[in-house]
Symmetry: C2
Subunit: 215 residues, 2 copies
DNA sequence: GGTATATTGATAAAAATTTAACAGGAGCGG
DNA sequence: CCGCTCCTGTTAAATTTTTATCAATATACC
């Protein structure tokens, strides 16, 4: 019966997905330090939540824990990678190779998480033709021809806010499935396309607010 | 009687704070386009939530809506800025002026949201001494001397992950109140210091997951 | 002026999420 | 082997968050 402890449809709750992702990053770093076992309370301490919540999150996935012992980190990371679906390789493109786009292209270890950075685009003729870590920057005008061929499904949008909607329309045409939007613009897309917003300015505003309104 | 419709302690719920921040960004763009009025259902359409949730969020702040009409955007933005506390100027520093740090320094309109980008730091001697938009990059070794003098309370942490904890310890010493952490490391800080995590890699992983597991 | 329409503010209900509680297995020391 | 401690898996309770509902009111139009 394929262990369906998960929600009605076996889907993980969104807050759980968010935390599992971060647990994964944490656990991998502990693995690198040759730590082999971790308990829910240790992980909670690191993540700043409660042991109960950690166990609840992990509960949804195939049992990896040993009562009285904690979790074997290697098994746990593998289990998390599996529920998150990190394996089915998906191809990524970065649109806009200014400082932000370049930072993402250079620093995110896509390969380690089932993704492959496959294409880079920019509008500026001075940038087009250059390479970032061996990957050439192509002209945005080639979006529609390149993305479908390379079967790119995910785009990181780092263009100036003014260009955001126009580029988005073209991404949608090119068959993109999800957009990670670092611009300040809300994007209009058909329902089948997923947009996630990561506006750094919001993060700063919220942090400032939290500082003024502590627990 | 100071309109305390808010929670027991008058504090906004965290999900509400997050949404209000994004509403603000949206509304300001509509203002720029000379739109003067907006209804909860229009805003919900843009934000991709429900009119009910929009009204619930706005409910917590001094009434700005006109029954049957919608909200005057100018009043609404002002009200949101007020509850979020965007006014009490707070000073910000960016630590690590690689691609990511530079992108933040250049593109975030801190001044528009009650913040002032006051200091930049880097470790690399080739970078130290240069300027980003007129602000000089100082040596990280000067952290402890500069930050307290300039009363910087918020830090954007964009150093390589390996250096994250070390730099954090120094930030804490320098009296920082909140850290926006773009590195992959979890940070150990005393309880009085707030850390918010913005790991781009997590955003990509989560988006990939959401694409594979649509609603 | 009267009526239809639109939309808020507010409350109540429903759903989702977090926290608490605890039985029971695993190891350890004596 | 017994008793003590630790810590998971699981269920139940509490809390938070979201959604639904609706009375009240402003406007527009006839």
């Amino acid at each position: 019966m394929s262990s369906d402890k998960n929600g009605p449809n076996g889907k993980l709750a969104w807050p759980t997905v968010q935390r599992l992702t971060e647990y994964l990053i944490i656990l991998e770093q502990y693995l690198e330090n040759n730590t082999e076992v971790i308990s829910s309370s240790e992980l909670a301490e690191i993540y700043s939540n409660t042991p109960s919540q950690v166990r609840q999150d992990i509960f949804r996935l195939p049992n990896t824990g040993r009562v009285g012992q904690g979790y074997k980190i290697e098994e746990l990371t593998e289990a998390i990678r599996k529920v998150l679906g990190i394996n089915n390789k998906s191809r990524v493109a970065i649109i806009g190779c200014g400082k932000m786009g370049t930072a993402l292209a250079q620093h995110i270890p896509f390969e380690s998480y089932g993704m492959e950075l496959t294409a880079l685009f920019d509008k500026d003729p001075n940038v087009v033709g250059s390479e970032i870590d061996g990957l050439p920057v192509q002209n945005v005008t080639e979006l529609e021809t390149v993305l479908p061929v390379k079967k790119v499904k995910i785009a990181g949008l780092c263009v100036p806010s003014d260009a955001a909607q126009e580029v988005t329309d073209r991404l949608v045409n090119a068959g993109i499935k999800g957009i990670l939007n670092f611009t300040r613009k809300r994007l209009k897309v058909p329902k089948r396309v997923i947009v996630q917003y990561r506006q750094p300015v919001c993060a700063f505003i919220q942090l400032a607010h939290n500082i003024r309104n502590p627990n």
